[in-house]
Symmetry: C2
């Protein structure tokens, strides 16, 4: 079956909601470490996939998954050691107050559960979220995700959702050293307009917002204000957590705060459907009101075996420190590239959570979205996989598996320089 | 680590929302086919687990899962054959109008997506659901699940939820041959009280309602009435589908209807987190309004490999026909047992989706909930795993893996007879 036939069958059976990356869809058949192979045996460097964070098909994770799948797979109403061990390992990596872990299958399920926890605990419904945020594909999460409700096909924010501006120091209202304080003041005005909230939810670095680092002091001030009106603070670490930012295991640690609820997903099982919520004993006690939470597949022994293997690999291969080292190296190389390429408006991020914002003018900041799309498709021709992000679709996102090497980073930057030299990228 | 230590650690880390089956929790370590083993090497016959429907750790499914996990696991924005093949196989098993398949990770995600499809298509919000139903643990599903919102910790039905009575021919208002028509009239009155609805959602046999078969004609009339007011009909096949009812592959087929949306989950991956929604091209087209649906883990190659293997096994081992044969045999044996045990008020269900409702009196139908719990715990002492269900907690549910043999069914009935002869079961 050739690709055209596969595309036709895919369109017929999966329908119009399924989209493909790239102008010419990519048909992948194999992966290992940083490498993906297409159906014609061509090799690609994966600089985009933050789910398989310890590398494609890591043998240790595959082995753990297979061993447990052949031994026992059942649910959490029986005792099993793996779920307890994984819960303990996650809780051990979090501040002391966060000691209670509940497993789900996806980051969306984790964020929905976080909202249920917050709403049950506070007996309020309203949620504060950050502009352009995406917290998941479920009904309750579309309602708090401007990325979805304010975009094509969206029906706007419901009355219980309150949106605060992105604290974007490149393109937003405030820049420079005072930005954290200024955005916090704007946040405070936002809180004042609510009649009290159940929760504030935010990623600790903004993904769909365009790979944006929060300015120093922002979350500390925001958390203080939310708690002052009786709300709880949810850190959505689904994309950010698990060592990717390099300096810390969790993104919220870069802001010096302790959330009341932390959600995690994507890299937790290296692609296996697994996610979790960790919260405080007080919130867990409020939630234990007689309505059992049961998630059929959530926390099953096979998922937990994968989760345990991922944590072991991150630890033993020193992937957090590695992400910091390679990320710093890459960020510096990208910054050097900026000097020669006026289209590069900003290089930002931490560790291996990086973004390059493209502009047609560094004065007006006119977004270079068509150019971003061109670059991603041309990089694919050179067998390097990247993607775009941001509300203006002009941010190249770089979120490779954490096993990314300096040599691979250098190669990526070298090819990027070639593509940036093309006519289509001159501004 | 002994069980007491494991329970203490579990309670400390997973918190109060996690519950265990049985008065003495069961610590399982291995499974194969119909058999589970505990940490002390004791063997149990699993007559309850409808998720591992082709048997615990089926070698064919494990092999498919492991092979793909070692080859490639990525998401649906790249082309891959497995997701297309699985989508086609599911669509092929459904009536012609249902031709578009979307993958999720859990039955809850599938039901939430079904609501989103229905609401986007109809531009309405209201949902009709059946009393005591459970459709999932997400915010949007608690709202339409009386099993949750009307129980402990629940906050009641929101204004967009409309509940119709269970068409229960054992304990409900109407019995006998006319019941289907009478309950349909009651349903019509329910529809009339709404100002138009987005959807009617129902399981095709009622699980949490107490393993209840719908009376003939019920769904045909209900679907007609829902469509008359512009709503769509959702069949929740998460527990019922995939051959369990024996006569048909899907539960809705027993009622001679064609839904507009079908959701499926639990047995689809034999325990691997996978689920799906199948709908019509019209509804899929309405949903393709520019807001992409993307589920990070949903429809990944590993999940699809497991799903393909499950369908192959059901086909090659003839498990649907087997479920009918063994189910009929078991149902007859249970019916025979009723003569000697007045506590058995009703034996019902289809194929290997069976329930035994226990009563203290066949006249008053006073529910025998304590006795049901006693029986389940005593059966566990005899190393047979069952569970209870139903709004009055007095229904023994029997939903074994479909590989259940007649000899195992006979053994289960023999042990049940022994337990029913105990003092605690005399009424």
């Amino acid at each position: 079956m050739n690709d055209e036939q596969l595309i036709a069958r895919r369109n017929r059976t999966l329908g119009p909601t399924y989209q493909n990356f790239f102008d010419r869809p990519l048909h992948l058949v194999r992966g290992a470490g940083m490498t993906l192979w297409d159906a014609d045996g061509r090799e690609y460097l994966d600089c985009y996939n933050n789910v398989v964070s310890v590398g494609h098909c890591h043998p240790r994770v595959v082995e753990a998954l297979c061993r447990q799948a052949g031994t026992l797979n059942t649910h959490t109403r029986y005792l099993h050691a793996a779920i307890v061990e994984l819960g303990e390992m996650l809780v051990d990596r979090l501040p002391g107050a966060l000691d209670t872990c509940v497993f789900t299958c996806t980051g969306s399920e984790a964020n929905d559960l976080a909202l249920r926890l917050a709403r049950t605990h506070t007996r309020r419904r309203d949620i504060i979220a950050v502009d352009h945020a995406y917290h998941g594909h479920l009904t309750s999460l579309i309602e708090i995700s401007p990325y979805k409700f304010a975009g094509k096909g969206g029906t706007g924010a419901p009355s219980h959702t309150h949106i605060v501006p992105m604290p974007d120091v490149f393109r937003g209202l405030y820049r420079g050293e005072e930005a954290g304080i200024k955005y916090a003041e704007q946040f405070e005005e936002g809180v004042a307009r609510t009649g009290g909230v159940a929760a504030f939810i935010a990623e600790s670095l903004l993904s769909c917002g365009g790979q944006i680092e929060l300015p120093p002091g922002y979350l500390q001030a925001a958390y203080r204000q939310v708690r002052a009106v009786g709300g709880v603070c949810i850190a959505d670490e689904v994309q950010v957590g698990f060592g990717r930012v390099g300096t810390h295991f969790w993104g919220f640690e870069t802001q010096g705060v302790v959330p009341d609820i932390v959600t995690m997903g994507k890299p937790i099982g290296n692609g296996h459907p697994l996610a979790a919520v960790v919260t405080t004993p007080e919130i867990a006690a409020s939630f234990a009101n007689g309505m059992e939470y049961f998630n059929t597949f959530g926390g099953n022994p096979v998922s937990c075996a994968a989760g345990l293997a991922v944590l072991d690999v991150i630890e033993e291969e020193g992937l957090q420190a590695h992400a910091l080292q390679v990320g710093n190296h890459l960020k510096q190389a990208l910054a050097n590239l900026m000097a020669a390429h006026p289209i590069m408006g900003d290089v930002r991020g931490r560790g291996l959570f990086l973004g390059v914002e493209l502009v047609r003018s560094r004065e007006t900041l006119e977004p270079a979205a068509a150019e971003a799309s061109h670059i991603v498709n041309r990089m694919r021709d050179h067998r390097i996989l990247l993607s775009t992000d941001g509300p203006l679709h002009n941010v190249i996102k770089i979120k490779p598996p954490l096993v990314f090497s300096k040599a691979e980073a250098d190669w990526m930057v070298q090819i990027l320089a070639t593509v940036l030299a093309e006519d289509a990228c001159q501004v």
